[in-house]
Amino acid sequence: MEVKFNLNGLDVIWSVQPGEFLLDSLRAHNIKSVKKGCDGSACGVCTVLVDDKPVLSCSLLTAKVEGHKVTTVEAIQDEAAALSERFSREGADQCGYCNAAIALMVHALKKENPHPTDEEIKDYMVGNLCRCTGYQSQNRAIKAYLGGKK
């Protein structure tokens, strides 16, 4: 079947299987920033934005994005680079497998709530698991990033 949608600002028409999940479609089309972790909607590394809201692409049928807007980290490269500087400064970089999804989450959080409290950051990021950091360094980095230039 054919699915028409907007991917990172471009209109695309993809041929997919009716039962295909968005995560698999994206990776098959060389969008490798979207990672497969648990493949069971538990870990968050497959997060994409659909109409600017975070969604787990492992659990969303590609057919469902017909007519919608899908955003991956490919569309927010400068923001991701700026966030990575904060991560580096806080020692929050380890294996990096969850980082692209975190960049998307922080992008979405910033839109929804530009000046979150520590608790609001934790609440928002709770679905994005990281087995390296223990989250403290990530939370510091996210806070510093959203806090502005200094």
Partner: protein
């Protein structure tokens, strides 16, 4: 007393952090070509068993199967999966595929196919005959247990380390 160091107390930016955050291809599955074969493993349902026979004849007939490996068609050369030191002291007591399986999930066969679906189908067509053995589930009962976990030939220590497989002793 304040000392200035070149590294200590100074930020060392990570080399790969930016690319990873930007989602650039970096992990094995990002770099694998789209047309690469998919490998799936057939795993033991038993905690301890001898693999008497692995019949892959039906699985090999499936279109799209490129290769099936079992204990019968891989070199029988022992190695260790440990790798902490050099020389690595762990006895070489692991084979690519062994005539024994020692935990639920131990590998019995590997299938390479042109798609995940075909590889999964092939796993279902492989027929395995097991002789189910008594597992050792308590390490305090392991020493000199009547179940010998490594009775096979071809395993060895790399230097004297107390390796005594007949008594279920890897090292002492």
């Amino acid at each position: 007393m304040k000392k200035n160091f070149r590294v200590v107390n100074n930020l060392t930016p990570s080399v790969d952090g930016k690319g990873l955050m930007q989602g650039r291809p970096a992990y094995t599955n990002d770099l694998a070509p789209n047309n690469c074969l998919i490998v799936k493993l057939l795993r033991s349902p038993y905690a301890f068993a001898k693999v008497l026979k692995v019949d892959i004849s039906e699985a090999l007939k499936l279109p799209g199967i490129e290769c099936i490996l079992t204990k019968d068609n891989v070199p029988h050369v022992s190695f260790t999966r440990a790798g902490q030191g050099y020389p690595e002291p762990s006895p070489h007591d692991k084979f690519i595929f062994d005539e024994y399986v020692r935990y639920v999930g131990d590998e019995v066969a590997a299938v390479a196919a042109v798609s995940e679906e075909i590889a999964e189908q092939a796993l279902k067509l492989i027929k395995v005959e097991y002789e189910v053995l008594e597992p050792v589930l308590d390490f305090e009962q392991a020493y000199e247990n009547k179940s010998v976990i490594h009775p096979e030939d071809g395993i060895q220590d790399m230097f004297p380390i107390g390796f005594d497989p007949n008594k279920n002793l890897a090292a002492s």
